[in-house]
């Protein structure tokens, strides 16, 4: 491989890394923005970790994948966390405040009320359990 190709490959990798870094920063910004809004969520109980689940009635992957995953988690570990479901079509102002770009989107909130993770798109039960730091990954 010639030096010129290597140099260009390095530049391409650097530009791509910058793009990934920008995406991660945006996610971090979304989490920061959400942190001041957790307590305003309807039915939020402070002191208990939470999954804030944004969906809409016509979202097929929400019905077929995301909701069953959350239901399975609730059946096994329901006492360790709460689920706050937000219908983004009924409450678009909440979805906008939280910077929701797509559905399903899940935010994982720790016991101190701090948003820790945002998953844009489907998040598996295993991933959500790991993010909630529940130790048994048997689902």
């Amino acid at each position: 491989m010639s030096a010129e190709v290597l140099e260009r490959l390095f530049i391409a990798a650097a530009i791509s890394s910058l793009a990934v870094a920008a995406y991660l920063l945006l996610n971090r910004y979304a989490l920061q923005r959400a942190s001041s809004k957790v307590n305003r969520l309807p039915s939020y109980q402070s002191g208990l970790p939470a999954i804030v689940y944004f969906t809409i009635p016509t979202c097929a992957p929400c019905k077929t994948v995301q909701r069953p995953a959350i239901e399975r988690m609730k059946a096994s570990y329901g006492k360790w966390f709460q689920v706050i479901e937000v219908d983004a079509s009924q409450q678009p102002e909440i979805a906008q405040e939280w910077g929701v770009l797509t559905v399903p989107t899940t935010f994982v909130i720790d016991a101190n009320g701090q948003p820790r993770y945002v998953n844009q798109g489907i998040a598996t039960a295993k991933k959500l359990i790991q993010q909630l730091e529940i130790e048994d990954y048997s689902i």
Partner: protein, 164 residues
């Protein structure tokens, strides 16, 4: 409200990913002709009213089930405009490269790749955003408004069906 149509966003995402990949390959191997090819495919796709590299999705990825359809209710016109705008920038980039204006040419090529990435991975279509603003300013030929509850340029939320 505008009458929305069922649009398979997977075809557009694959189109964008192929554009990104080809632009990076063209840059790394210093092949300006490849940028000209991408520009031509994008512009021909715009004229045909479909994603330029959508044929790869339609003939290979969709039938084999490697990529599942993601059908959303959306306006096709802003996406066509966005691809056309991208094609014009790509053409500008290719012409600049053939004219020896290397920095300008590759700058335009990277810009198209970056905007395609923003659309493919972030769900925000800058060309669509421009289209909706032109509608707002009453520019002739631009009449569509964003789907209800959708920020201009953002991918509409939810999936209409799993049809293949």
């Amino acid at each position: 409200m505008d009458e929305l149509k069922k649009i398979d966003h997977s075809a557009m995402t694959i189109n964008q990913v192929i554009i990104i990949a080809l632009n990076i390959i063209a840059f790394v191997f210093n092949q300006p002709w490849l940028t000209g090819l991408v520009a031509a495919v994008m512009l021909l796709g715009t004229l045909a009213g479909r994603p330029g590299f959508g044929f790869i999705y339609q003939s290979l990825l969709k039938p084999t089930g490697l990529v599942k359809p993601r059908v959303l209710l959306d306006n096709p016109e802003p996406h066509r405009f966005a691809q056309g705008l991208g094609g014009v920038f790509m053409l500008g980039g290719a012409l600049a490269l053939f004219s020896g204006l290397s920095a300008l040419g590759w700058g335009l090529v990277w810009m198209v790749a970056a905007l395609a990435a923003l659309n493919a991975f972030g769900g925000f279509c800058v060309g669509c955003f421009v289209y909706y603003w032109l509608t707002r300013f009453g520019v002739p030929g631009f009449s569509k408004t964003p789907p209800a509850g959708t920020f201009p340029g953002m991918r509409p939320k939810g999936t209409v069906s799993d049809e293949r």
